[in-house]
Symmetry: D4
Subunit: 246 residues, 8 copies
C-alpha cells in the first residue's frame, strides 16, 4: 500500500533484520484502530488530508464517547450533527472542545494552526438555510480556512446579492446554500469565475419534497461552474471547499 514502507520491509528481510513470517504480518498492520463496533480510520489524516470525522446521528452517546476517547489527541477533532448532550459527553473527554450550536458541531482545533490567506464564502438564500450554512462555515474554519458569510440574499430580491459582488469577487471558493427552488447557485455561478459548491436544503414545503426540488434545480444549473452535494450536507460542502482552498 505504501511504497516506502514496503521497500523498508523488503530491505529488512534482505538484511536479515526481519523474518519472512514477521514480514508477512507487517502487511497486516493496516492503519486503523479496531474498537469492536467501529474501526477508526486513524490513517485518514495522512491519506486524505483531514482526520476522520464523527457523524453523530444514529450513534449512541456511549459509542460517541468511545470513539472520542480513541481520537482525543487528534487535531482538528470534528463531530457533526451534534446536540447539547453530545457536547457534554465529548467535553468530559476533550475539555477544550467547543460547541457551535447553530452548526450542530463539536470541535477542537490545534491552537497554533494558521488560517488560509484566501477565503471561502458561504452564501444563503434565506434565514432558514443558516444552520446548514453554519455547518459548512464552521467545518471550513476548523479546517483552517478564512471563512466569510453572506446570508439571506435569495433570488426574490436579487439586488441584495448584486450589492455584495465585491465580497463574492474577493473569495476563492463559494458555497451557496438554498432550499425551495434552489435558484441561487445558478445566479452566483453566472456572475463570477470562482467554483461554486451548491448545497440544497430541506427548507420548503409541498412540492419541495424535503429538498428534492432544490437538488434537481442545482444539478440542472445552466451556469457551468457549479457542483452539488447531498441535501443539507453542509459538512460535505465545507470539507470539499477546504480541499480546493489548500
Amino acid at each position: 500500500m505504501d511504497k516506502e514502507k514496503i521497500k523498508k520491509i523488503l530491505k529488512d528481510v534482505k538484511g536479515g533484520k526481519l523474518q519472512v513470517e514477521n514480514a508477512l504480518k507487517k502487511f497486516r498492520d493496516f492503519p486503523y484502530d479496531d474498537i469492536g463496533f467501529t474501526k477508526i480510520d486513524s490513517h485518514r489524516g495522512l491519506r486524505c488530508g483531514f482526520p476522520e470525522v464523527i457523524f453523530c446521528r444514529g450513534k449512541s452517546l456511549s459509542q460517541i464517547a468511545a470513539i472520542a476517547k480513541e481520537m482525543r489527541a487528534v487535531r482538528p477533532f470534528l463531530a457533526t450533527r451534534a446536540d447539547k448532550k453530545v457536547y457534554q459527553t465529548i467535553k468530559k473527554i476533550i475539555p477544550e472542545a467547543l460547541f457551535y450550536e447553530t452548526a450542530r458541531i463539536v470541535a477542537a482545533v490545534d491552537r497554533k494552526r494558521k488560517l488560509s490567506r484566501k477565503s471561502i464564502l458561504v452564501i444563503t438564500a434565506g434565514t432558514a438555510d443558516i444552520p446548514v450554512a453554519e455547518e459548512a462555515a464552521v467545518t471550513s474554519e476548523i479546517m483552517g480556512n478564512k471563512t466569510e458569510r453572506l446570508y439571506d440574499v435569495g433570488v426574490a430580491g436579487v439586488h441584495r446579492l448584486l450589492d455584495n459582488k465585491e465580497k463574492i469577487f474577493q473569495s476563492n471558493v463559494i458555497i451557496v446554500v438554498a432550499g425551495m427552488e434552489g435558484a441561487l447557485p445558478s445566479v452566483v455561478g453566472g456572475i463570477t469565475a470562482q467554483p461554486v459548491i451548491a448545497v440544497p436544503t430541506s427548507i420548503g414545503y409541498g412540492a419541495s419534497f424535503k429538498g428534492v426540488a432544490a437538488l434537481l434545480a442545482m444539478l440542472n444549473s445552466c451556469a457551468p461552474g457549479v457542483t452539488v452535494v447531498n441535501i443539507d450536507n453542509g459538512f460535505g460542502a465545507g470539507y470539499f471547499a477546504g480541499l480546493i482552498n489548500k
Copy 2:
C-alpha cells in the same frame, strides 16, 4: 342553467305559448354540436370568453378536418400542436388560416379585432425554449393582446435580464418560459409587481427529467407573484395571460 332563458321559458309556459312537454325539451337544448366522435362545445365562446381550441396531437387529419368544418365560421379559430399537414388540411376548409411554424399553431382571426392597449411580455431563459414561448405569444396575439418578446435572458447571465427592466415594467402580465433549473420566474417575480405565469419546458437532460426539475423549481418559487402551468404548455400560459389582460 341560464337564468334569463329559464325565465323566458317559464313566462312562455305561463302565457300558454309553450306546452309543458315542449318546455321540458328546451332544458335539453344544451349548446353543443354532436358530430359523433366529438362534441364541439360551441357555447364556450359565450361561457368562457374564448371559443373551443383544437389540440391536434392524437387526432387524425380526418378528425381535425371534421372539427374544422363545424367551426369554420368561429373567430378566432385556433389549432395548437399543429404541423404542416394539419395546416394544409385546415387551409382547404378555412383559406385565410395562417401557419405559425415555430409556435406549431394554425389560426384565423377576425380582421376587425383590435389589439389591447396593455401588453403581455413573453420571456425565455434560453434559445431552445423559444417554440414553447411562441405558442404562448401567438395564442396571446390571437386573443387580441399586444404581445412583446424578450428571449434568451436566463439566470446564468442575469445582467441580460436586468438590462431589460423597462420592458418588464411596461408590460401588464408576464409569461416566463424556462427549462433546466427553471430559476428565471423567481428572479423576474422578485423585481416586478406584475403577475408572472411560469412555463416549465422539457429542455434539459439527465436529472431535468423532461421538465420536472423546472416544474418543481417554479412551484417552489420564493417570489410570491408566480403561478405555474404544465410542462411545455405555452398555450395555457398565453390563454391565462389573455384572461387577465382583458
Copy 3:
C-alpha cells in the same frame, strides 16, 4: 437600478454637490435593512406592489420578533404560518395586529385602506381544505380585495357548485382549493371566463401522496384558464389573485 435615482446622483456629481467617492457609495445604498441573520427587503413594497411577508415556519420567536420590530411601521403587515405564540410575540410589538386562527395569519392593515370593487372568490372542494382557503382569503383581504367564500362544493356532488353559478359569475378572479383528486378547478374553469388559480392541498391519504395527486391533476387540467401554485400555498394564491385584481 433606479433610473431617476441614478440621474439625480449624476446631476449632483455634475453640479459638484456630490464627490465621486461618495457618489460611488450611493450605488451601494441598496434598499434593504441588514439586521444580521436576515436582510429585510424594505424596497419590495415599491418594487413589487406589496411589502415583504414573514413566512414564520422555521423561524424562531426571537427572529420573528426582530423582523417585526424592523417592519413595525409597514402596512399591510403580514405574517403567515403563524400560531398563537407567534401572535403573542408580534402583538407586543404591533398591538393592533390581529390573529386569523384558521388561516394561521397575523396581520395589521392600514385602517384607511379601501376594498376593491371587484371581488375575489375562494372555493373549496371539502371542509378539510378550509385552512388553506382561509390563508388565501385573508391574504386577499389584507391586500385590499373584496373577498367571497364558497366552501365544500366538491365534484362528488357537482350540483352544489352549479347551484352557485351566479356567485362565480360575479367574481373577478377565482381561487379553487382542493385535495384528493383535485378535479374542482377543471370543472370551475369549464363554466366561467374568470382566471382560475388552483391550490392543491395535502388533504387525502394513500396515493394522494400529500397533495401530489391533486397537484398533478391541476397541472393537467383540460380547462385552459387554470394555473397552479404549490401544495397548501394559500398565501401564494391569494397574493397572485390580488396582483390580478388590481
Copy 4:
C-alpha cells in the same frame, strides 16, 4: 381441486374400477394444454366464467398462430392489442374472426349468444380516449353485454355530461375512460348509484407522466363508488364490468 371429480375418483377406487397408482395420476390431470412455450388455461372458462384471452403485445405472429390453433373452437375467442397482421394471422385459422380496428381487438363469438338485458355504458372525457374506450366496449359486447357509448363529455364542459343523465341512469354499470387530470369518474360517481370503473389513459403530456396523473386522481376520487384499473387497460374494465353485469 374439484370436489365432484375427487369424489368420483374416490368412488372408483373404492369400487375397484381404478387402481391406486392410476388414481394418483388423475390428480395430475390438470386442465391445461402444454404447447411448449405456453400453457393454455383451457379450464378458465369453467373456473372464471370466460375463456383465456390472448394479449398479443410481446408475442410473435407464430406464437399467436399456435395459440389460436389450440383455441380455435373456443367461443368467445378474444385477442387484444392486435394489429392488422395479427388479424390476418388469426383469420387463416378462425375464418369468422372479426377485426375491431379502433379497439385493436380480434374476436369470434358464438352466433347464438344473446345480449344481456341490462347495459354497460362506456364514457370518455375526450376524443383521444376513444381507442381505450373501444377496447372496453368491444370486450363488453363480446362477453354478451348490451353496450352503450357516450364519448367526449369531459369536465371542461360539464353540461355535455349532465345533458346525458338519462343515458347514465339507464345503464347498469359504467366505465369512465379519461386521461389528463382524470376528473370525470368522480363527477359521474357523484351523480349516480351505478358502480363506476375508472380507466386512466396515457393521453396528456408533461406532468401527466403517461397517465400517472389520471391514475392518481381516480384512486383518490372523492366519490365512493369508483374503482380503478391499470392505465389504458380497456380490456380489464370491460371484463370486470361484464362480471358485474351477469
Copy 5:
C-alpha cells in the same frame, strides 16, 4: 335536475299555482343543507343509493358534532376513520350509534333493514391487514350485505387459501386486502369468476413505500377480473362491493 320535479313546477306555473319569480327560486332549492363550513349532500341517498358518509380524519370534534346533528335521522348513518372520542361525541347525538373499534367506524342502522341473500367475502393476506378489512366488512354490513370474512391466507402459504375455495365460490363479490407485495388478488382472481376488488394496505416497510408496492402489483394484476381502490381504502371497497351486490 329532477325531471318530475321540473314537470311539477312547470304545471304549477301553467296552472297559476306558482308565480314565475317563485318558480325561479325553486330551481335554487338544491337538495343540500348549508351549515356554514360544510354543505351536507342530503340528496345523495336518492341520487347515489346511499346517504353521505362522514370521513372523520381532518375534521374537529365540533365539526363532526354539527354534521351529526344535521344527519341524526339519516339511516344508515356512517362515520369512518373514527376514534373513541369521535364515538363519544356522536353517541351524545345519536344514542343508538355503535363503535366498531377495529374498523374505526361509528354507525347507526335502520333496525328493520334486511340483509342481502348473496354475500360479500372479505379476504386478507395477513393479520396486520385486518383493520382495513374490517372497515370494508363493516361498511358492507351497514349497507345491508351479508358479509363473510377469511383472514390471514396470504400467498406465502397458498394452501390456506386453496383450502377455503368453497367459501370463495359461495360469495357474490370478493374484496381482497393485502400489503407488502400485494399478490393475493391475482391468485384469487385466477381461481374464481366473482369480481375481485383489491385493497392495497400500507402494511410493509422499506421498498413497500407505505403501500405503493402493493398498489402497483394490484394495478398490474395478470388476472383480469380485478379492480383497485386507494391504499387503505377499506370503506371504498366495501361501498363499491355493496353497489354491485344490490
Copy 6:
C-alpha cells in the same frame, strides 16, 4: 398436496378403512391452526425447512401472546422486530426465550442443535448499520449456522476491507449490509467467489431517501454474484443465507 398422504388415504379408502365422505374431509385437513385473527402455518417447517416466524411490528401484545402460545413447542422459535415488551410477553409463555436487543429478536432454540461447519459472514459498511446486520446474524445463528461478523469496513477506507480478505475467503456465504451509497456489496462481490446477499439500510439522509439510494446501487451492482433483499431486511438476508448454507 402431499403425495404419500394422498396415497395413504386412497389405500385406506380401497381397504374400506375410510369412508368416501370422510376421505373427502381429509383433503380439507390442511396443516395450519386457525386461531381466529391468524392462521399459523404449522406445516411450514416441513415444507420450507424452517418454522413460521413472527414479524412483531403491527401486531398487538395480545396477538403475539396468542401466536406464541400456539407455537410454544416449535423450535427454533423466532420473533423479529421485537422490543422489550414483546420479550417480556413471550418470556411468560416460553421461559427459555432470549432477547437479542441490538438485533430486536426474541428466540428459543433446540439446545441439542449443532452449528454448521461452513460459516456465514455478515459485513457492514458503518456502525449505524449494525442493528440490521445483527438481525441477519442472529437469524443465521438461530437457524444453526456458524456466523462471523466484520463491521465498519465501508468503501471510504477500503483498506479496512482488504485487510480482512482471509476472513472473507473462509466464509461460505456473505451478507453485506450498507446504507448511504450502498457500494460495499459490489466491492466484496468483486474480490470473492462466494454468493453475496446485499441488504440496503435506511441509514443516510437527504437524497438517500430512507435506503432507496443504497437499494438502487445494489440492484445495479457491476459485480455479478450479488442479489438484494428489501431495505433493512436483515432477517430475510439471514434466512436466505441459511437456505444456501445447508
Copy 7:
C-alpha cells in the same frame, strides 16, 4: 493480494534471487490486461470462480472483437445481450462459439466440462418473460449446471404451478422470472425450501413502469427465502444460482 505469492517474493528476496527493486515491481504485476479502452480482468476466473463476461450493449463491434481476441482462450467464454452481428464478429475469432438467440448470448464452453448433479430450475410467469429466463438458463448451463425449465405458470392460473410441484422439489436452486405484478416468487417461495432468486422483467404496460411494479413486489415478498436482482437481469440470476449450486 495473494499470500503465497507475497511469501514467494519475500523468500526470493531473502535468498538473494530477487533484487529489492525488482521485488517492488512484482507488486505491480496486477493480473489484468490493459488494451487501452478496457482493462480485462484476467484474474477474475481465479478470484471469483468464473471468468469476466462481456456485456455487449453499449460496446461497438470493434471493441467486442478486441476483447474477444484477448479472451479467445478463456473457457467458458460468455457474451450477453448479443445480437446476430455480435455473434458473427465473435465467430470469426472463436469459431466454436454458439449463438443462443432467444437468450441473446454468444458462448463457448470447454467440451470436457461435466454438468452438476443438482439442478437449477428456471420458472416464468408468462410467455413474454422467456427471453430473460433463457438468459438465466443458458448462463446457468454455460457455468456447468444441470438446468430445468418450467414456463408460463403464472399466478392467474395457480394450478399450473401446483401441478409441477415435483419438478420444483427436485431442484436445488430456483430462479423465478416474472413481469406485471411479480407475484410468482412469493408463491414459489411459500411452497418450497429451496432458495428462490426473483427476476423482475419489464413485461407489462402502464403502471408496471417497465418492471418497477414487479421489482417492488419481489422486494416485499412475504415469503422469506427470496432475493432479487435487477429488472431483466437474467444473467445475474443465472450466475448467482451457479455460485450457490457449486
Copy 8:
C-alpha cells in the same frame, strides 16, 4: 456592474466630458450581443474566466452557424454535444476548429496557450462511460489543463484501481465517471486528498433509471471530498475541474 467603469463615467461626467443623458445610456451598454433569437454573453470570458460555450443539442444548424459567426474570434471556442454535421457547419466559419468525435466536441484553441503544470485526472468505471469522460477530458484540455486518463477501473475489480494509486496521487483534481451503481467516486475519495468531482452516467438498465441510481449513490457518498454534477454532464465536470486547477 464594474466599479472602475462606473468611476470613469462619474469622472467624465464631473469633468464635463460626458453629458448626463449619455452617461445614463452607458449604464445600458451591457456586454452582450443581441442577434435576435439569442443573446451572446460576450462578457462571460472576463466575468467567469471562460467564454460562453455552445450547447448544440436542441439548436438548429443555422442557429449554430449564426452563433459561431458572432464568436468566430473568441478563443478558446467550444461547442459540446456536437455531431459530424455540426462540425462541418462550424468548420466553414472557423477553419481551424477540430472535431473530438468520442467527446462530441468541436473546439478551436489559442495556439499559444500553455498547459497547466498540475494535472486533472479523469477516471471511468467502465468502457461505456468513456464518451462522457472524454467530454470532461477534452473540455479540461481546451481550458488549458494537463489532463490524464484512467479508464475501466470499476469496483468489480478494485485491484485495477489500487494498482494506479500513483497516477491518482500525482493529480491535482480528479473526475470520476461511472454509471450503474456509481460506487467508484466513494472508493477514490477514500484513498486520496484530492477533490473528486463525480459524474453519473446513464449507462445501465432496469433499476438504473438512466443514471438516477448512480446519481443518488454519488450524492450519498460516505467519502466527504466528493461533489456531483448532472447525469452525463462531462462538460460541467471538466469545466469545474478547470476552475479549481487554475
